[in-house]
């Protein structure tokens, strides 16, 4: 969590949403829908963007699937930063996203993490030794981090060994809650969750090699409602700038080469 002031960013988003409904919005204001796992870097990006461009930016936080449902039902967002690659592609196909603007702004780094300092070794052998009661993951059917975790476990040949030790969160934030509160001993999480607050992870951690699972791509897309909005176009460009990419990298995400 960052400062109180940055948390307040969410409430102006609601005000802006109402204002937009009444037709008050100025042209140089961008309304951006952001996947919940990217909230913290987005707050820094929003500040840097507002400072460098002079445009107004309003951030709405939600689960990617819910944001997508809102966009399909007429939500006034200009830009979507999704937690996956599928939703932006679907929106482009449905004519709600602008073709050719879809790009990967961040890639997720899967980690095995525990708040206990000695539990996890740097090679993840702890999974074979099984010296733990419960291991947390995100729902593999819904969350890219959960699906990636299962690919890693399958690759290690531990699918049946771990079968009765899983506890499952609906998304990676809930899985983190299980581990951080100590209810689960360790869990497959996103590096951005365990390293963003302090810059360095406490406890013990295994950085899972990214070649062990399909890439966790987080894609952004310019939405149809933002295609003539100067601030929205500027934000899409800003996300590709070195300033924004530094913030994203420092928050614990990887980067893809720009298109």
């Amino acid at each position: 969590m960052k400062s109180f002031a940055s948390k307040l960013l969410i409430s102006p988003a609601i005000v802006a949403w109402l204002a937009l409904g009444c037709g008050w919005a100025s042209a140089a204001e961008v309304l951006v829908a952001v996947a919940a796992n990217f909230m913290q870097p987005m707050q820094q990006i929003a500040q840097a963007f507002a400072k460098s461009s002079g445009h107004q930016i309003q951030v709405s936080i939600g689960a990617s699937g819910q944001l997508s449902a809102q966009i399909q039902n007429g939500a006034p967002f200009h830009v979507l930063l999704s937690a996956d690659a599928a939703i932006p592609a679907q929106l482009v196909q449905a004519g709600l996203g602008v073709a050719g603007t879809n790009f990967t702004y961040a890639t997720g780094q899967l980690v095995l993490w525990s708040p206990k300092p000695e539990l996890i070794d740097p090679q993840g052998e702890v999974l074979r030794q099984g010296r733990f009661q419960r291991i947390a993951r995100a729902n593999p059917k819904l969350a890219p981090y959960g699906a990636a975790a299962m690919q890693v476990v399958e690759r290690m040949g531990l699918t049946s060994d771990l079968q009765h030790k899983w506890v499952q969160g609906e998304n990676v934030n809930q899985a983190h809650q299980f581990v951080a509160s100590g209810n689960a001993d360790l869990g497959f999480l996103a590096l951005s969750q365990v390293a963003s607050a302090t810059g360095k992870a406490t406890g013990s951690i295994w950085l899972v090699p990214s070649s062990w699972h399909s890439p966790i791509l987080q894609n952004a897309v310019l939405l149809h409602k933002g295609k003539d909005n100067a601030a929205a176009l500027a934000l899409m460009a800003f996300l590709k700038s070195p300033a924004a990419r530094d913030i994203i990298r420092n928050a614990g995400y990887g980067l893809e080469p720009l298109p």
């Binding site: 009661q133 729902n139 059917k141 609906e170 809650q177 299980f178 209810n183």
Partner: protein, 233 residues
């Protein structure tokens, strides 16, 4: 395994677990709620108002708030977790016992309020008459007060059972979706909907809808059969 058979087995396991959870919760909660409701209906203590407010809290708080506090309390650093570990029981989170405790907290007002209302409507007179006839208080409670409040008792049992079957947020927060332990119908339905497996979601949701209707219809029948007493909730 054949996919639909796999689904059917998962659904069956979730259904059995849901009914177990609701039954155990109802029995335990009625044992706790009956003396509490009696005390609330009789006392003039200055603690009555704060305790009444506390008992009603789960009605107002979002289940995710309850679930979050329960998760923190049950964890190794939480007061409950420290106690269960000291007793050698391990942690309650992600277990059936933990869900029972969570469900009891979650359904507490649904058990207490109908009972308390039934006791209040009954008034002091039946117990006073019993005392005049020489019945000891506990004896009078079981042979006079409780039978008179039976409609409230039945209402409390039905509401607790049904409310637990429909419980979702608290279970999502402290359950961890463990098959056979904490994966109940409501979380199973949610999983199917989120994964866009609408056919499976429909089958379970339709069953839940029919069940809920039957419960509420049955409740109305109870109220027709024993009007007046225990009309609360």
């Amino acid at each position: 395994m054949i996919p639909w058979l796999n689904d059917a087995a998962a659904a069956w396991s979730a259904l059995v677990l849901t009914l177990q959870l609701a039954s155990v919760t109802t029995v335990l909660l009625l044992c706790l709620a009956t003396p509490l409701a009696w005390w609330l209906s009789q006392t003039t203590s200055r603690w009555r108002a704060p305790i009444l407010a506390f008992v009603t809290l789960p009605l107002v708080l979002p289940p995710t708030v309850l679930g979050f506090y329960l998760l923190v309390a049950m964890g190794p650093q939480g007061w409950l977790g420290q106690w269960t570990q000291a007793m050698g029981w391990g942690l309650l989170s992600f277990t059936f016992k933990g869900l029972v405790l969570g469900s009891m907290v979650y359904s507490l007002p649904f058990a207490v309020q109908p009972l308390q209302h039934a006791f209040e409507v009954m008034g002091r007179r039946p117990m006073e008459v019993a005392a005049t006839l020489g019945a000891r208080p506990l004896d009078a409670f079981f042979s006079v007060a409780l039978p008179l409040a039976r409609s409230g008792l039945i209402t409390a049992a039905i509401l607790t059972f049904a409310h637990t079957v429909g419980e979702f947020g608290v279970i999502l927060m402290i359950g961890g979706n463990v098959p056979g332990q904490t994966r109940v119908l409501s979380t199973e339905i949610y999983g199917h909907v989120e994964a866009m497996e609408y056919a499976q979601a429909h089958a379970l949701a339709a069953g839940m809808l029919v069940f809920s209707f039957a419960v509420l219809y049955g409740l109305a029948a109870v109220k027709r059969r024993w009007p007046g007493v225990g009309a609360g909730a």
